[in-house]
Subunit: 351 residues, 4 copies
């Protein structure tokens, strides 16, 4: 397979930068277009960006020129790190212009014909693409909100084995989830902010779409009752979630533990480059997982589980941790694109 | 009323230091004895202590000599900031020697004859003192665990008005709750530790004792089902708690709000010096309360409530914040002692 | 003396908020005007401001209406928390309109006719006011940059007694010095930024003006060589500075210590409400002063000194700490206004 | 070359853990012995250690049994992460028993016959080994204190080209430099501690030894006047230093910049696995280097330089950053061992 040409829109933002980091040395994609807002257009990427990463900008990207939105981007696929306010308009335009758009924006996540995709959870949802009316040309595929991913990956094996009736989740979310500059240090340092605009709603709805089933060509979401309380904590990367679940079946702690431990990704055999060896890692040490220490497991793509124990109110409780800018954003999107290639839905466009 | 003489045991520890801070300028108590472990005995307090407070040691205390445990402490009441491992033995000895012991330790909190006391919540529980078999001489009164206080103060008006069936609570607790040196900075900085040893059990049992009723001379605890998930976050002071409740009655959000807003302390008329003007402060701004900004409300004795809203799984959810080393430890204990004075249970001992 | 009417311009900004906090209950000033930018004009202060303080907005101020800039503000004195970009134009206008402007902005600090004032250091510099050509009406008086204050207060006794030839200073400055939202939490958390735009220049020039002498009606600044390296550290309040000095005289460590210890404010007898009991507090404990623990000394108006010891390169080195938003901004400005009252330069304007 | 067998003493401590991390997959060393204190002896490493790293314990090491100190350790070289109090006695014993001891402890750093070694700076100092009177059997080689390394690497090119007369350095040091549990979170969070016991003395003496010359078989240290002020800041990894230097020659800023930029490691041709591509990386962006973002450059072995500019008091000032637990501790020690292999001073011991 020859390398696919990847364009990144919103290339100077926090998510755009993460795309560039994660595509460095990727075996299937090479970056061929960087798109950003007017004030960046025409400048070298290194001059246009306020690079916030730890390492330096990959040399090949640093000297690329930033281009403007157009219907003629030199790429086979577009990774979108746009804010929703821009994505609302820009992503359909790109799809209509023939580009597969792999989006991290929230704009179309709940659209009935747009897959909200976690490859290990619902790879069959890409079936929805054929319903997209701009599909003759391109399409949009989205990854979930950063706090949804860890929750849904943790719920999946419980839902499959035991049935899920209700979920309580309290999140402690990293600062990087708010982008850059994002949260003021005067709000963040030595503090917790018990509110993140719009976040709790996403946690109520997105997991039900992700765990939904495709029948008769349309998606039927689940109707698990989910209640979320979202907090911003002074952590850099990694959303930690305290979860309590009510199951449809009476099961032992051992069975819950085993459901997590023995979960096997349905796409394991595709050997996607960004898929971690294990989707779920279960810690026995009751002090773990911790965001600073364990978010990077599996290259930031593994979701960690810990402290599985009975709940006095629902059935079982536990904690889950996932890397919010890798698994929860750019890494999840790249994995989506890899799945689409293997499913034959993403390929080189005719020159 | 002449000033009562206060002794502080565990005087060099974090809680002992807080007692000293809070008794500075107190209208009813003067510090007359400082008791600490052997290696401090005989030294001036300023030389024995590693003072961790922001202000300086009150001058009158700085030059006092630290004394050893004895049955002959020159004081009318003992405030105990001891660790449970020492309190287990030391507090009964002090009680038998005739001292009222106002304890912050967990050792006797769940003892059926020892009041677990929050003056605004269960002032009548001091009735239990007369059951204490060392009572002929002295007695023990305890305040709850730091994470219990905020929860119980928030639950009280709901329990009184609507009845409580179940409670889910996820805590985000300040570092100072672990004492000094307590949590290593390498565990704390930019991190969350999703485990605090023994904490979750206290949250299950202590509120049920605090909300219990005295009938026939004994305490009948409630049997509300409580499930707790406790986390240590990089915050200095203030435990923030995300709470969800199932009520016995179907009520509107406005009624819940009103229950908090209109709660009146049953001991308001006693005008205790450490009692805040309002036990509960309800924030309307959905970003509040925040530990760094609001823990000090009411001199650290007010519990803040925010984000009252329906819960998709139980009935209502909200956040509560309380200052863990003032309301949740030394301040709570001082308020207990003030109540005992007004109830005639604490007075000058015969010389 | 009847209360003077105080107007605050830039009332919704971080410095403006601090003015409001510090003037709460002030014996000489009452707030009678709040001025902010167009989008706030006409709204109640509580609705216009994003209040970042720990306590709540003083009730009397919360319900005041925000007004626009005009030549007809109902006040006797204007406290300016404006950014320099606005102050450049607005402050001279206010002065020409007859208002004494007590400014925290950098715009006119180095103007030869504008006093750069720390009352305990150079109270005689207010003499310069009469040189101001808008003076027939009003005038401008400034306080120094937040990092200059601690340094200059520490240098003053050394300069007076021993003569100063050269100063090396490395600062570790709090986040609040950058205003709100100021530094992004992604830059601040668990990090140091070794650069603060424009800061080092201020440290080179402002102390020389502050320590200058008035002769023949004009100011003659000192020419002490000062080299500064400024860093932003994850601290909320309090600029800590590592200082090394070359003196004109050979002196012992004891003499340096004594110079700090025995420094007496030249305005002590004026009993200004905001002046701390001691300008300089010398710590003997080599771990002190620390920003989080000691910035509040003297109500945030005391400068702390510690670790006095010989320097292997210059003569002596030590650390100094000062509260950057109180002593280094709003508190310093209020103290300036208090001095001006006592000097007869600030009084009620004719109605 | 067959793999050398490496023993780690102090294997459960913070430095010991870092040795294990850095030797994972090392091409020249395999870990064959783990030595710790009595309470760990006989236990599997995973059970004996409180692993503080981000990743998990390498599987091969996790199941190794911890052994006690002896003269019969199954290894060719010993890496010592011991505290000085233990190293004082243990390291000479190991040397006498025939082991090359690659030590991170301070015990023998200033011993005239023990090399204090940074391979890129003074590789010829290993000549001193032959003076060690326990040398017939083994020997000791040390790496410098964590705060010395960055300073000395930065000074080396200036010293070589221009001559150095005096150095002022203010450090902002990471928490990990104090080991585990090290600094209490109550001292660290949102605070700076302007004191690190013993640190300033090391900065005065160690660079002079490192930059010294070997003549007549003995080491002649330099006599550069160095003054240090050391601070602990809430950063996890990376010591940032503000440095000012007085040179023997008058040079331009460009020449200083070029001295850093064009520095070539004298051991480049040895191709040591742990040597970074560049010892010194010069940043042009005045906001850089920053500890959280840039400590990991060159695998944590590169020292970053930034903000080169004239100094108003000495000649030039700049900042330097180095990773304190890699370049400044375990990584430096591993590089020392690699150099010794290439110099023929470290080889397989006879069985």
């Amino acid at each position: 397979m020859s390398m696919l040409r990847a364009g990144i829109v919103g290339a100077t933002g926090a998510v755009g930068q993460k795309f560039i980091e994660l595509l460095r040395g990727h075996p299937w994609f090479k970056i061929t277009a960087l798109v950003a807002s007017d004030r960046s257009v025409g400048r070298k990427y290194r001059d246009a960006v306020n690079w916030i990463g730890a390492a330096e900008i990959p040399a090949s990207v640093a000297s690329m020129e930033v281009s403007s939105f157009s219907n003629d981007l030199p790429c086979d696929v577009v990774f979108s790190g746009l804010h929703a306010s821009v994505a609302d308009h820009a992503e359909p335009k790109l799809a209509k212009a023939g580009y597969p758009v792999i989006s991290n924006a929230k704009s179309f996540r709940m659209h009935p014909d747009v897959p909200l995709l976690i490859p290990e959870i619902n790879p069959d949802h890409t079936f929805l693409i054929k319903n997209q009316d701009w599909q003759s040309a391109g399409y949009i595929v989205t990854n979930p909100n950063c706090s949804t991913v860890g929750l849904t990956c943790a719920l999946k094996p419980l839902h499959d084995r035991f049935g899920l009736e209700a979920v309580q989740v309290t999140t402690m979310q990293a600062l990087s989830g708010a982008g850059y500059p994002g949260v003021s240090s005067l709000d963040a340092l030595a503090n917790v902010v018990p509110f993140i605009g719009g976040e709790e709603d996403k946690l109520v709805h997105e997991p039900n779409k992700l765990l939904g089933t495709i029948t008769g060509g349309t998606l039927h979401p689940q109707s698990i009752r989910i209640s979320a309380q979202c907090n911003r904590v002074p952590v850099l990367e990694g959303h930690l979630e305290c979860i309590s679940v009510k199951l449809s079946t009476s099961v032992s702690r051992g069975e819950v533990h085993d459901a997590f431990e023995s979960f096997v990704s349905p796409i394991k055999d595709l050997c996607l480059p960004t898929e971690p060896e294990k989707l779920l890692h279960v810690f026995e040490d009751e002090r773990f997982p911790q965001p600073r220490r364990h978010s990077d497991l599996g290259g930031g793509m593994t979701v960690s589980i810990g402290r599985i124990r009975p709940c006095e109110v629902l059935d079982y409780k536990f904690v889950a941790l996932s890397h919010n800018t890798i698994r929860g954003a750019a890494g999840g999107a790249v994995l989506n694109a890899e799945l689409l290639i293997k499913q034959g839905l993403l390929k080189a466009r005719d020159a």
